[in-house]
Protein backbone atom coordinates (compact mmCIF):
# COMPACT_ATOMS: atom_id res chain seq x y z
CA UNK A 1 0.00 0.00 0.00
CA UNK A 2 2.69 2.47 0.94
CA UNK A 3 5.54 0.75 -0.89
CA UNK A 4 6.17 3.61 -3.29
CA UNK A 5 6.32 6.13 -0.46
CA UNK A 6 8.66 3.95 1.56
CA UNK A 7 10.84 3.36 -1.49
CA UNK A 8 11.19 7.10 -2.01
CA UNK A 9 11.92 7.64 1.67
CA UNK A 10 14.76 5.14 1.50
CA UNK A 11 16.30 7.12 -1.35
CA UNK A 12 17.05 9.82 1.18
CA UNK A 13 19.76 7.56 2.59
CA UNK A 14 22.06 8.95 -0.07
CA UNK A 15 22.35 12.16 1.92
CA UNK A 16 25.80 12.36 3.52
CA UNK A 17 27.86 15.08 5.19
CA UNK A 18 30.93 16.62 3.56
CA UNK A 19 34.25 14.93 4.30
CA UNK A 20 35.85 18.22 5.28
CA UNK A 21 33.08 18.88 7.78
CA UNK A 22 33.55 15.38 9.25
CA UNK A 23 37.28 15.88 9.60
CA UNK A 24 37.00 19.30 11.25
CA UNK A 25 34.13 18.39 13.55
CA UNK A 26 35.66 15.12 14.68
CA UNK A 27 39.00 16.72 15.42
CA UNK A 28 37.47 19.52 17.46
CA UNK A 29 35.26 17.21 19.51
CA UNK A 30 37.95 14.64 20.32
CA UNK A 31 40.40 17.41 21.22
CA UNK A 32 38.01 18.58 23.91
CA UNK A 33 39.18 17.52 27.35
CA UNK A 34 36.78 15.19 29.07
CA UNK A 35 37.03 14.32 32.74
CA UNK A 36 35.60 10.88 33.36
CA UNK A 37 33.46 10.57 36.42
CA UNK A 38 35.49 7.84 38.17
CA UNK A 39 33.61 8.19 41.37
CA UNK A 40 30.00 7.84 40.34
CA UNK A 41 28.14 9.67 43.01
CA UNK A 42 25.18 7.60 43.88
CA UNK A 43 22.65 8.07 46.59
CA UNK A 44 24.13 5.34 48.89
CA UNK A 45 27.55 6.99 48.70
CA UNK A 46 26.01 10.37 49.48
CA UNK A 47 24.05 8.94 52.36
CA UNK A 48 27.06 7.22 53.95
CA UNK A 49 29.16 10.35 53.49
CA UNK A 50 26.52 12.38 55.29
CA UNK A 51 26.41 9.85 58.16
CA UNK A 52 30.20 9.88 58.50
CA UNK A 53 30.33 13.69 58.50
CA UNK A 54 27.58 13.90 61.10
CA UNK A 55 29.36 11.36 63.31
CA UNK A 56 32.60 13.35 63.23
CA UNK A 57 30.76 16.55 64.10
CA UNK A 58 28.96 14.82 66.96
CA UNK A 59 32.18 13.40 68.40
CA UNK A 60 33.90 16.77 68.23
CA UNK A 61 30.97 18.57 69.85
CA UNK A 62 30.88 16.08 72.73
CA UNK A 63 34.63 16.02 73.47
CA UNK A 64 35.46 19.68 72.93
CA UNK A 65 33.84 21.01 76.17
CA UNK A 66 35.79 18.46 78.26
CA UNK A 67 39.03 19.47 76.65
CA UNK A 68 38.32 23.13 77.27
CA UNK A 69 37.66 22.50 80.98
CA UNK A 70 40.93 20.69 81.46
CA UNK A 71 43.34 22.51 83.73
CA UNK A 72 46.27 21.30 81.68
CA UNK A 73 45.07 23.20 78.62
CA UNK A 74 44.22 26.30 80.63
CA UNK A 75 47.64 26.53 82.20
CA UNK A 76 50.10 29.04 80.90
CA UNK A 77 53.63 27.93 80.15
CA UNK A 78 54.99 31.41 80.26
CA UNK A 79 58.15 31.34 82.41
CA UNK A 80 57.68 34.81 83.82
CA UNK A 81 54.16 34.03 84.85
CA UNK A 82 55.28 30.82 86.52
CA UNK A 83 57.95 32.66 88.47
CA UNK A 84 55.49 35.31 89.50
CA UNK A 85 53.08 32.64 90.66
CA UNK A 86 55.83 31.04 92.73
CA UNK A 87 56.76 34.36 94.28
CA UNK A 88 53.16 35.01 95.12
CA UNK A 89 52.90 31.55 96.58
CA UNK A 90 55.91 32.14 98.84
CA UNK A 91 54.56 35.44 100.08
CA UNK A 92 51.15 33.88 100.67
CA UNK A 93 52.73 31.14 102.73
CA UNK A 94 54.66 33.66 104.77
CA UNK A 95 51.56 35.78 105.30
CA UNK A 96 49.64 32.75 106.47
CA UNK A 97 52.39 31.95 108.92
CA UNK A 98 52.28 35.50 110.22
CA UNK A 99 48.55 35.35 110.64
CA UNK A 100 48.81 32.03 112.44
CA UNK A 101 51.55 33.30 114.72
CA UNK A 102 49.55 36.42 115.47
CA UNK A 103 46.56 34.33 116.33
CA UNK A 104 48.61 32.17 118.65
CA UNK A 105 50.16 35.20 120.30
CA UNK A 106 46.75 36.71 120.92
CA UNK A 107 45.52 33.49 122.39
CA UNK A 108 48.50 33.25 124.65
CA UNK A 109 48.12 36.85 125.70
CA UNK A 110 44.49 36.29 126.56
CA UNK A 111 45.30 33.23 128.52
CA UNK A 112 48.04 34.99 130.49
CA UNK A 113 45.74 37.87 131.27
CA UNK A 114 43.18 35.53 132.61
CA UNK A 115 45.71 33.67 134.69
CA UNK A 116 47.19 36.80 136.24
CA UNK A 117 43.79 38.16 137.00
CA UNK A 118 43.29 36.84 140.56
CA UNK A 119 40.06 38.72 140.90
CA UNK A 120 38.29 36.66 138.28
CA UNK A 121 36.67 33.98 140.25
CA UNK A 122 34.61 32.14 137.59
CA UNK A 123 37.67 30.68 135.85
CA UNK A 124 38.40 27.08 136.68
CA UNK A 125 41.61 26.91 138.63
CA UNK A 126 42.67 23.56 137.17
CA UNK A 127 42.18 24.80 133.60
CA UNK A 128 44.24 27.85 134.24
CA UNK A 129 47.04 25.89 135.80
CA UNK A 130 47.19 23.49 132.84
CA UNK A 131 47.37 26.38 130.39
CA UNK A 132 50.14 27.99 132.40
CA UNK A 133 52.20 24.79 132.11
CA UNK A 134 51.87 24.74 128.35
CA UNK A 135 53.07 28.32 128.17
CA UNK A 136 56.34 27.47 129.86
CA UNK A 137 59.27 27.53 127.40
CA UNK A 138 57.59 29.76 124.88
CA UNK A 139 59.45 32.77 123.71
CA UNK A 140 56.86 35.41 124.29
CA UNK A 141 58.85 37.92 122.37
CA UNK A 142 58.43 36.38 118.83
CA UNK A 143 61.34 37.73 116.82
CA UNK A 144 60.38 35.61 113.81
CA UNK A 145 57.07 37.46 113.51
CA UNK A 146 58.89 40.74 113.61
CA UNK A 147 61.26 39.62 110.83
CA UNK A 148 58.42 38.47 108.56
CA UNK A 149 56.50 41.64 109.15
CA UNK A 150 59.52 43.65 108.19
CA UNK A 151 59.86 41.64 104.97
CA UNK A 152 56.25 42.16 103.96
CA UNK A 153 56.11 45.81 104.83
CA UNK A 154 59.46 46.80 103.46
Amino acid sequence: MHEEIIKNLKKLRTIRPDEQFIKNSRGLILATYYTPNKLRITWPVLAWSAVAAFSVILIISLTLPRIQNSKILSSSLNRDKIEQELNNLTINIQLEQITYSQTISQTIASALTEISDTHTKHLNKNVLESEQKSLDGLDLQNSEIDRMLNQVIF
Binding site: H2, I5, I6, N8, L9, K10, K11, L12, R13, T14, I15, R16, P17, D18, F21, I22, S25, R26, L28, I29, L30, T32, Y34, T35, P36, N37, R40
Partner: protein, 181 residues
Protein backbone atom coordinates in the same frame (compact mmCIF):
# COMPACT_ATOMS: atom_id res chain seq x y z
CA UNK B 1 27.68 -1.95 15.99
CA UNK B 2 29.84 -4.79 17.14
CA UNK B 3 31.08 -4.66 20.75
CA UNK B 4 29.28 -1.35 21.16
CA UNK B 5 28.92 -1.84 24.91
CA UNK B 6 32.68 -2.15 25.43
CA UNK B 7 33.37 0.84 23.21
CA UNK B 8 30.88 2.94 25.14
CA UNK B 9 32.44 1.91 28.45
CA UNK B 10 35.86 2.98 27.18
CA UNK B 11 34.42 6.29 26.05
CA UNK B 12 32.85 6.82 29.49
CA UNK B 13 36.29 6.20 31.00
CA UNK B 14 37.67 9.03 28.91
CA UNK B 15 39.14 7.27 25.88
CA UNK B 16 38.47 9.73 23.09
CA UNK B 17 39.46 7.15 20.48
CA UNK B 18 36.50 5.05 21.59
CA UNK B 19 34.15 7.98 21.22
CA UNK B 20 35.71 8.60 17.83
CA UNK B 21 34.47 5.20 16.71
CA UNK B 22 30.97 6.04 17.92
CA UNK B 23 31.20 9.34 16.05
CA UNK B 24 32.17 7.59 12.82
CA UNK B 25 29.33 5.09 13.17
CA UNK B 26 26.48 7.47 13.92
CA UNK B 27 27.45 10.78 12.32
CA UNK B 28 25.90 10.10 8.88
CA UNK B 29 22.56 9.13 10.39
CA UNK B 30 22.36 12.02 12.83
CA UNK B 31 23.42 14.48 10.12
CA UNK B 32 20.78 13.12 7.77
CA UNK B 33 18.11 13.39 10.44
CA UNK B 34 19.03 16.95 11.30
CA UNK B 35 19.30 18.03 7.66
CA UNK B 36 15.89 16.63 6.79
CA UNK B 37 14.41 18.37 9.82
CA UNK B 38 16.05 21.77 9.35
CA UNK B 39 16.45 21.84 5.59
CA UNK B 40 19.64 23.95 5.71
CA UNK B 41 23.09 22.45 5.27
CA UNK B 42 25.03 25.00 7.33
CA UNK B 43 22.58 24.76 10.20
CA UNK B 44 22.58 20.97 9.98
CA UNK B 45 26.38 20.91 10.25
CA UNK B 46 26.37 23.26 13.24
CA UNK B 47 23.66 21.32 14.99
CA UNK B 48 25.27 17.96 14.28
CA UNK B 49 28.57 19.22 15.69
CA UNK B 50 26.81 20.51 18.81
CA UNK B 51 24.95 17.20 19.24
CA UNK B 52 28.12 15.12 19.25
CA UNK B 53 29.99 17.63 21.40
CA UNK B 54 27.14 17.48 23.89
CA UNK B 55 27.17 13.69 23.77
CA UNK B 56 30.94 13.55 24.42
CA UNK B 57 30.75 15.97 27.33
CA UNK B 58 27.83 14.13 28.93
CA UNK B 59 28.64 10.56 28.05
CA UNK B 60 29.05 9.70 31.73
CA UNK B 61 25.28 10.14 32.04
CA UNK B 62 24.58 7.42 29.49
CA UNK B 63 22.91 4.39 31.06
CA UNK B 64 22.83 0.91 29.61
CA UNK B 65 19.16 0.00 29.44
CA UNK B 66 19.16 -2.49 26.60
CA UNK B 67 18.86 0.13 23.85
CA UNK B 68 21.53 1.09 21.37
CA UNK B 69 23.59 4.20 21.74
CA UNK B 70 21.78 5.65 18.71
CA UNK B 71 18.54 6.08 20.67
CA UNK B 72 20.33 8.29 23.16
CA UNK B 73 21.93 10.28 20.35
CA UNK B 74 18.62 10.72 18.55
CA UNK B 75 17.06 12.04 21.73
CA UNK B 76 19.79 14.66 22.00
CA UNK B 77 19.37 15.44 18.31
CA UNK B 78 15.59 15.81 18.57
CA UNK B 79 15.93 18.20 21.51
CA UNK B 80 18.51 20.21 19.57
CA UNK B 81 16.15 20.49 16.60
CA UNK B 82 13.30 21.59 18.86
CA UNK B 83 15.52 24.35 20.24
CA UNK B 84 16.48 25.23 16.69
CA UNK B 85 12.81 25.64 15.71
CA UNK B 86 12.30 27.99 18.62
CA UNK B 87 14.98 30.34 17.32
CA UNK B 88 14.37 30.00 13.59
CA UNK B 89 11.12 31.73 12.71
CA UNK B 90 11.65 32.18 8.99
CA UNK B 91 11.89 28.53 8.07
CA UNK B 92 11.28 27.93 4.34
CA UNK B 93 10.92 24.25 3.58
CA UNK B 94 10.73 24.49 -0.19
CA UNK B 95 14.04 26.30 -0.51
CA UNK B 96 15.52 23.85 1.91
CA UNK B 97 14.43 20.94 -0.25
CA UNK B 98 16.30 22.38 -3.22
CA UNK B 99 19.41 22.85 -1.10
CA UNK B 100 19.30 19.26 0.04
CA UNK B 101 18.76 18.11 -3.51
CA UNK B 102 21.88 19.87 -4.69
CA UNK B 103 24.00 18.44 -1.92
CA UNK B 104 22.76 14.85 -2.08
CA UNK B 105 24.33 13.77 -5.35
CA UNK B 106 25.11 15.31 -8.71
CA UNK B 107 24.88 11.98 -10.46
CA UNK B 108 21.26 11.24 -9.66
CA UNK B 109 18.87 11.02 -12.61
CA UNK B 110 16.57 13.94 -13.05
CA UNK B 111 13.42 12.04 -12.21
CA UNK B 112 15.00 10.64 -9.09
CA UNK B 113 15.98 14.12 -8.10
CA UNK B 114 12.43 15.21 -8.57
CA UNK B 115 11.24 12.32 -6.43
CA UNK B 116 13.62 13.35 -3.71
CA UNK B 117 12.47 16.94 -3.93
CA UNK B 118 8.84 15.95 -3.70
CA UNK B 119 9.31 13.59 -0.81
CA UNK B 120 11.39 16.11 1.10
CA UNK B 121 8.85 18.85 0.59
CA UNK B 122 6.09 16.48 1.63
CA UNK B 123 7.92 15.47 4.81
CA UNK B 124 8.20 19.10 5.84
CA UNK B 125 4.41 19.38 5.75
CA UNK B 126 3.96 16.65 8.37
CA UNK B 127 3.74 17.07 12.12
CA UNK B 128 7.13 16.94 13.91
CA UNK B 129 6.47 13.53 15.50
CA UNK B 130 5.42 12.12 12.12
CA UNK B 131 8.59 13.48 10.52
CA UNK B 132 10.70 11.94 13.27
CA UNK B 133 9.14 8.49 12.98
CA UNK B 134 9.37 8.33 9.18
CA UNK B 135 12.97 9.56 9.08
CA UNK B 136 14.14 7.25 11.87
CA UNK B 137 12.20 4.27 10.54
CA UNK B 138 12.71 4.38 6.78
CA UNK B 139 15.70 6.65 6.26
CA UNK B 140 17.89 5.61 9.23
CA UNK B 141 16.43 2.11 9.61
CA UNK B 142 15.75 2.15 13.37
CA UNK B 143 13.41 -0.39 14.96
CA UNK B 144 10.12 0.65 16.58
CA UNK B 145 11.67 -0.10 19.97
CA UNK B 146 14.65 2.17 19.30
CA UNK B 147 12.38 4.92 17.98
CA UNK B 148 10.15 4.65 21.05
CA UNK B 149 13.20 5.03 23.30
CA UNK B 150 14.51 7.98 21.32
CA UNK B 151 11.19 9.83 21.29
CA UNK B 152 10.16 8.71 24.80
CA UNK B 153 6.96 7.12 23.54
CA UNK B 154 5.51 3.63 23.63
CA UNK B 155 6.01 1.26 20.73
CA UNK B 156 2.27 1.26 20.14
CA UNK B 157 2.28 5.03 19.83
CA UNK B 158 5.16 4.81 17.35
CA UNK B 159 3.21 2.36 15.16
CA UNK B 160 0.14 4.58 15.17
CA UNK B 161 2.20 7.64 14.29
CA UNK B 162 3.93 5.74 11.50
CA UNK B 163 0.64 4.60 9.97
CA UNK B 164 -0.86 8.09 10.04
CA UNK B 165 2.35 9.67 8.74
CA UNK B 166 2.52 7.36 5.70
CA UNK B 167 -1.12 7.99 4.91
CA UNK B 168 -0.68 11.73 5.19
CA UNK B 169 2.51 11.67 3.16
CA UNK B 170 0.79 9.78 0.39
CA UNK B 171 -1.98 12.34 0.26
CA UNK B 172 0.54 15.16 0.08
CA UNK B 173 2.66 13.51 -2.62
CA UNK B 174 -0.39 12.78 -4.73
CA UNK B 175 -1.49 16.39 -4.50
CA UNK B 176 -1.36 17.80 -8.04
CA UNK B 177 -0.30 21.23 -6.81
CA UNK B 178 2.81 19.76 -5.25
CA UNK B 179 3.80 17.83 -8.38
CA UNK B 180 3.55 20.90 -10.54
CA UNK B 181 5.74 22.96 -8.15
Amino acid sequence: MKDETEIIKKAINGENAAFGRLYDEYLPRIYRFVLLKTGRKADAEDLTHQIFMNAWQNISRYEFRGFPFSSWLYRIANNAVIDYYRTWKNFKPIEAAEEILTESSDNERFDEQMDLKIIKTAINKLEPDQQNVLIMKFVDDLSNKEIAEALEKSEGAVRVIQHRALKQLKNIVNNPELKEA
